[in-house]
């Protein structure tokens, strides 16, 4: 593997020195491009109190290409599917090389606070979120309790 670009080293250092509140991102011991991420469920959201594990990988052409991010912890959310894949514009066509790991994780945290059922990835969840928001939120809370609070 070729040497790590200065950009990745800088970002990693900053993530360690000034961590984002509610988010931890730690590089893997064997691969500096792979990050173990934990996002805490935002206050006043159905995910409050949960700890959500994610994985984040910086591809070879990062930062020209977006990082690959996926939820490992199961989550009931209209923009996140069964496999933990996330529907977020900045991870796709709105990616800009000037965005960072930090900004990506902040956006994911914001997505937990503000689900967008009009641009769904998990169709059944999004449908329920639209027709019966109360029940959808109950489900999300239940999933958070069941999958994101054990450890």
């Amino acid at each position: 593997m070729c040497s790590l670009p200065r950009r990745i080293i800088k970002e990693t250092q900053r993530l360690m020195q000034e961590p984002v509140p509610g988010i931890s991102a730690v590089p893997d011991d064997n691969n500096a491009r792979y990050f173990h991420v934990i996002v805490t469920g935002p206050e006043d959201s159905p995910f409050e109190g949960g700890l959500f594990k994610l994985e984040l990988f910086l591809p070879e052409d990062y930062p020209m290409s977006a990082p690959k991010v996926r939820f490992i912890t199961k989550i009931y959310h209209p923009n996140i599917d069964r496999l933990g894949r996330i529907c977020l514009d900045i991870l796709k066509d709105k990616w800009s090389p000037a965005l960072q790991i930090r900004t990506v994780l902040l956006s994911i945290q914001a997505l937990l606070s503000a689900p967008n059922p009009d641009d769904p990835l998990a169709n059944d969840v999004a449908e329920l979120w639209k027709v019966n928001e109360a029940e959808a939120i109950r489900n999300a809370k239940e999933w958070t309790r069941r999958y994101a609070m054990d450890n």
């Binding site: 200065r6 950009r7 800088k10 800009s96 090389p97 000037a98």
Partner: protein, 512 residues
């Protein structure tokens, strides 16, 4: 040249001199004088090479930048008169050829539209075309950049690679500066994903497009430059309403039609014939949207259809198994000599008369009251009716092509070996085969048209004309397959009748 098929080459533009001469000499021949009105399929187009198209696009770019330059100078004159200060001009963006190209690409090469928009509000045009940033975002950033610039002792830090260097920074009209290495990598990744004219600035949320001259200033690798130029060229051609790439495999030709329409054009280099509007096989009288719907449906349902319609049929009279080996649908059983129609298995005698209804699908009038299952079966039956006929004519076309090859070979043998007649004596046989192919092709494409037509008096008229066309085509095919025993005059008369039927149908139903 004009789009009249290979046989009508003598009407082409480059021989206009002869055309005029004949038109003057023979004023009675109205068809030659105004073929565009008499032939519903008339279509003018030309085949261009990549270089010719590049020249054409560059001419448009030049024309636009010249006309915008004149506008700017006029503006400047007014400004000079008013405030006698030409420094004002430095504030507005000058339209370089590269910018003109972006403007044309985003406006589908409509020079007039761009000029009009520029005249009414040049700033709005530049923002809309993603040349200039949106007003609110730019000012703050420009100020930021300027403050960075003014402090020239501190090295700049590129926001992408976070390396500090004071050289090699580039920015677009939005003012977001990044180092050249990052720009190169950005272009590399974008181009590898097939993006070229759509490459934007690297700043988050910034939509300003990288112009061609900017990109070529950054990209120095020859391979990458070549790829970038290829991709932008493809984008330009695709955005140009008068241009279309020939869909033939590995063909470089670009067809140009000054009045683009959904009509037939063909590539002079690889001979592929296609619809200018949608680029797939020509499909008159059906329109582009309908034929696409039909082809998708056929692709989805083809297995069912294949299963249901077998390749062989039994003679309706003696029940001997018959495999069709010719294109003609007027069948004569080898064993009992019974004449029947391959499609409907009805007696051929009724096909010759006005009761010919083989092409028409008869709706079940009580279908609305039937069960859902019966309705589904009826829908499938209806689809199969049209699909079988569509597929059958397509097969007939292929069989007749084989027949054509056989005829050509036979003619060669007659002229060269047995010395019976000259080349010109036998040409009518080839003409007849070509005409048959042309007519059957149109007939094939009448079936999707009819399938999607709502029951109405217009549909009745369509199916009447379709039926008469089909009857004449089968007569023609019958006569061509038995050309040696058919009188030449009779055959030529039949050709004339079939083509007239085809033109009548197109005149009434080809609306492009």
């Amino acid at each position: 040249m004009s789009g009249q098929g290979e046989s009508d080459m003598d009407y082409s533009d480059d021989e206009a001199g002869y055309g005029d001469y004949y038109a003057e000499a023979d004023t009675y021949d109205l068809e030659q004088v105004d073929i565009s009105k008499s032939d519903p399929e008339y279509f003018e187009f030309e085949c261009l090479s990549v270089e010719e198209v590049e020249r054409l696009l560059n001419e448009s770019v030049e024309m636009l930048s010249n006309s915008l330059k004149i506008l700017s100078i006029k503006d400047l004159n007014i400004y000079e008169k008013v405030c006698n200060n030409n420094k004002l001009l430095s504030g507005c963006t000058q339209i370089t050829p590269a910018l003109a190209k972006v403007l044309l690409h985003t406006h589908k090469w409509a020079i007039q539209e761009v000029t009009d928009k520029y005249r009414s509000d040049s700033q709005a045009l530049l923002v809309e075309s993603q040349i200039e940033p949106r007003p609110e975002s730019s000012t703050s950033h420009r100020r930021q950049q300027r403050s960075l610039r003014s402090n020239s002792n501190v090295p700049l830090i590129c926001a992408v690679c976070v390396e500090a260097t004071n050289e090699g920074y580039f920015r677009l009209a939005c003012g977001h500066s990044f180092c050249s290495l990052c720009w190169v990598m950005h272009f590399q990744v974008q181009i590898s994903q097939g993006v070229s004219t759509g490459i934007t600035c690297m700043a988050p949320g910034c939509e300003v497009l990288a112009t061609e001259d900017f990109a070529l200033k950054i990209i120095t690798l020859p391979d990458l430059r070549k790829k970038y130029q290829q991709f932008t060229f493809q984008d330009y051609v695709k955005s140009h309403p008068q241009l279309r790439f020939c869909p033939g495999p590995n063909c470089q030709v670009i067809v140009r039609a000054k009045l683009p329409k959904a009509k037939k054009c063909f590539c002079q280099s690889c001979k592929t014939a296609f619809c200018f509007n949608c680029g797939i096989d020509y499909h008159a009288p059906t329109d582009c949207v309908t034929v696409k719907k039909w082809l998708t449906k056929c692709a989805d349902d083809s297995e069912t259809a294949n299963y249901i319609s077998a390749h062989t049929k039994d003679c309706p009279k003696c029940h001997i198994c018959i495999e069709k080996n010719g294109g003609c649908n007027h069948m004569q059983c080898y064993s009992c000599k019974h004449d029947f129609c391959w499609m409907c298995l009805g007696d051929w005698k009724t096909h010759g008369s006005e009761y010919y209804e083989c092409s028409r699908y008869k709706d079940n009038p009580n279908i609305a009251n039937e069960s859902a299952h019966a309705q589904a079966r009826e829908a499938l039956k209806k689809y199969l009716h049209y699909y079988e006929r569509w597929e059958n004519h397509s097969k007939s076309l292929k069989l007749e092509e084989q027949h054509f090859k056989k005829v050509s070979k036979k003619i060669t043998g007659k002229v060269m070996n047995s010395g019976s007649g000259t080349w010109i004596d036998w040409q009518y046989l080839l003409d007849a085969s070509n005409l048959l192919a042309k007519c059957r092709y149109t007939l094939q494409y009448t079936y999707p048209y009819a399938y999607y037509m709502e029951p109405s008096s217009r549909k009745e008229l369509f199916e009447y004309q379709q039926a008469s066309l089909e009857a004449e085509i089968e007569n023609l095919s019958w006569k061509i397959e038995r050309a040696e025993s058919t009188d030449r005059g009779d055959l030529e008369n039949q050709m004339d009748v079939a083509e007239k039927r085809r033109l009548t149908l197109l005149k009434d139903f080809l609306n492009v």
